[in-house]
Amino acid sequence: MTIDTELDVWRREWREETEPFPALKKKIRRQNLRIAGAIAAIAACLIVSTIEALRTGNAFVAGLATGVGFAGIVQGAYSWWVRRGAWRPAAQTTLAYAELAYKRAIATARTTRFSFRFLVIAVALYAGVAVWHWKTFSGVYGLILVAMIAELFLLDYNRRRAERGLEESKAVFEQTKQFADAGAESAEER
């Protein structure tokens, strides 16, 4: 049996230092909190605006409640629709996972782009209504406008991040595919 000294040295060096594995619970808790937080925020907006609309009978608040509900449904449906075919890998291979990650990056980029455009229209409409009813426009409604504009900036930041992520995942997918193809060809030649 041949002794592969070089490989043995590498193996020893590779295995010498190992960090302890972190606790899993922290991650699960954080992930659950994030999902619950997002759902709670949307639900709270919907519930508060609906209750306010019913309590005050104010047409403006009713319109707001309808808008929040409509936005939630449309964005949720769009997000689900663009993710079709990107739920699980086609096979348990590196290439399949790279492809899945690429598909997900496409879906994320499309969703954030859609949300951004949707919110731009919503802000424009809301601002239009605000100008139309400027005499009765109270501080709370002003705060809502400010919050919408702030969210617009946040979405713009997310949109740019998603676009960058898409470029990176595309590059990795293409690289993985290239390696897989080259590997298969070399194997065939042998």
Binding site: L7, W10, Y97, E168, V172, G183, R190
Partner: protein, 174 residues
Amino acid sequence: MSEHIRETPDERFNRILREYGPALSRLASGYERVPSLREELMQEIALAIWQALPHFRGECSERTFIYRIGHNRGLTYAVRRRPAHEPLDELPQRLEPVDRKPHPEDAIAKTQERNRLRSAIQGLPLAYRQVVMLMLEELSHAEIAEVLGISESNVAVRMNRARKALKEALEGAS
């Protein structure tokens, strides 16, 4: 094997982390060099194992199954990762100034060797990096083929090229 069947999901998961934790931690270091981000990746791998365990029906060995999850998660992470930005306080030791005087500190020299190898591996293209890491974990060609979902002959070809690339990277670093 039979005692594994009697394990509760919790017991099984804890045993897997005990047995494979060090290897998975090294695997994570191949995908991410910043310690705090590496910890995130390790947690993601653990979470993926926890989620995948109920679906494991023994079609392959447990070892292959665990490495496959680890590498696929690592790959997904590498794809998602933002362009390299390393917080200054988290830069690996290899980037710290090295005192060239002959100190009796063998430990430092050893650490430098380790870091040199790790950084050379981190610099390899993904396809080579995965093969090298699995090779260093002493997986057979058949096991590597199963983990990566490629043929054994493809593993052999990739391994030769990866070794060559790693050697060149190490020579370039020294």
